[in-house]
Amino acid sequence: MSVVAERLQAARPRAARSLPWVVAIGPAAVVVIVLLVVPSTALFLLSFVRFDPLRGIVYSFTLENYLAIARSSLYLQVTLHTLRMAGLVTLACLVLGYPIAYFMARSKSRLAALCAALVVAPLFVSVVIRGFGWMVLLAREGVVNQALVAVGVFAERQQFLYTDPAVLIGLVHILSPFMILPIASVLRGVEPALEEAALNLGATRWGVFRFVVLPLSVPGIMAGAILVYSHAIAAFVLPAMLGSIQTKLMATMLYQQVLVAGNLPFGAALATVLVATTFLLLALVYRFFGVRPW
């Protein structure tokens, strides 16, 4: 919080001070507790309950659901595949998004204003629609195939849709704003004079980037990477639309167990693993970089 905000708080008005904060904040807190904390806790507890294919949920304690995950090589593979995919998405968002963030932070041109608007705009379009757009683009008769064949990259049309690269492209498309915006906001706070000073002192453009701009933007990069990574791990709709049936990610697996197989306890265990993985990651980053992920 800024110094100004601190000072504003110190000088809070008398009347407001006497207003019971409980009344103001209570209802919202109760709603989140009832609709999120209680159900998540219940889901967590459910992961220790037995599931019988014939009788359904049997209320007796078991670690069977977790052991099943640990024992099966399939789930290990799925987990690793998910983490790798999320890693690739994060890396792609960083590499593709960094120049955009830099441009948004430094340029005052019309293009920069347009850029700022267009980077944010897709966030307001349902992920289902964006997924559908990629289905049209990547289809066998789609624009991407037409263009690649016309240019001569491929002799014939390729199967892009329902493959892992399609999921990767789609995820980069929906998650790149989460990388670009934090980096841009950090870069806006970096004095352009620093770069000019380095240039005047004889640094090359690459040197300025490598030793001045990049290190100063690490907090933005970390914040963006966390956001993108944690969203990518848990992404469900887009992989379900663009991926193949063979593409097994943690989220699609989880959905299948709960809504298709109806095995809620096992789904609950998978959900616990998913959330634990995400939180562990957030905690690590917070511990080592001191970046608050939210």
Binding site: M1, S2, L8, Q9, A11, R12, P13, R14, A15, A16, R17, S18, L19, A24, I25, P27, A28, A29, V31, I33, L35, L36, S40, A42, L46, I100, L111, C115, A117, L118, V120, P122, F124, V125, S126, V127, V128, I129, F132, G133, M135, V136, L137, E141, G142, V143, H173, S176, L181, L227, S230, I233, A234, F236, V237, A251, V258, A271, L282, W294
Partner: protein, 265 residues
């Protein structure tokens, strides 16, 4: 800028434009395909017609879904703004024990993956014996829109000078009067912006809804999602285009009322 930077700048501009094409391509294609006359997902469309718009607007399946989406989004917006506005005010203006904890609690619907929130709510409502209805769906949407409202509004309230409220108090205004006559009008733009955010987040949501809808309470994104699973034709493009128009109109409104980048995380 020195001349050696000119080439670099040219590259940067070219790259920015290429990136914007990447960002817009799937949206442009959807709009384009929606005007194709034949039952083909062809871009650019060759035989132009509004056939699919007529078909979509005659389809009870999509109209019911649109109606459900609208009701849920309006109710969720009202719910999260009513809950979130006083909460945001209290978070900014008061020091109290566990304040950080409460702030984290209110933002936690953003931190827990939506898929998990959806499953947790599904089994929670089932355990309470509540069948899927507009009410349960709305509750889910209030939960996920609340953090956006709290954050947008606290950012606005931080910028208010408490001296104004103090002056009102010294002149004899009561707490509720201050709240209603001073604070709310001063954060009006933030209030409008957070309403638009909440509405759009709810209106476009697919993940939470996937777990909470029934055949009767399907929302538009879910109708699109299930339709695409078994058939691909331009009617989906038409309904998507209509949905995007709603988003764009509201977003333009929001950007006039407040800074959109606040929604970034």
């Amino acid at each position: 800028m020195v001349t050696e930077g000119r080439l670099g700048r040219l590259f940067l501009h070219a790259y920015v434009i290429a990136f914007l094409v990447f960002v817009l391509a799937p949206l442009v294609v959807v709009v384009g395909v929606s005007f194709e006359h034949h039952a083909l997902l062809r871009f650019p469309p060759q035989a132009l017609s509004l056939r699919w718009y007529r078909e979509v607007l005659d389809s009870p399946q999509f109209l019911d879904a649109a109606w459900n989406s609208l009701i849920v989004a309006v109710l969720a917006t009202v719910g999260s703004v009513v809950l979130g506005t006083p909460a945001a005010y209290a978070l900014v203006r008061y020091r109290f024990p566990g304040r950080d904890l409460v702030a984290t609690l209110l933002l936690s619907p953003l931190i827990v993956p939506q898929l998990v929130v959806g499953i947790a709510l599904l089994q929670f409502f089932a355990a309470l014996g509540l069948a899927a209805s507009i009410t349960t769906l709305t509750l889910g949407h209030v939960l996920i829109t609340l953090p956006y409202v709290v954050r947008t509004l606290s950012a606005n309230i931080v910028g208010l000078d408490p001296a104004v409220e103090e002056a009102a108090a010294n002149l004899g205004a009561g707490r509720l009067q201050i709240y209603r006559l001073i604070v709310l009008p001063l954060v009006r733009s933030g209030l409008y912006a957070s309403m638009v955010f909440a509405f759009l987040i709810s209106f476009d949501n697919a993940v939470i809804s996937l777990f909470l809808v029934s055949a009767r309470t399907t929302t538009l994104p879910i109708a699109i999602y299930t339709y695409v699973e078994h058939s691909l034709d331009p009617s989906i493009a038409a309904i998507s285009t209509l949905l995007m128009v709603v988003s764009v109109v509201l977003m333009v409104a929001a950007s006039r009322l407040g800074r959109i980048e606040r929604i970034d995380t």
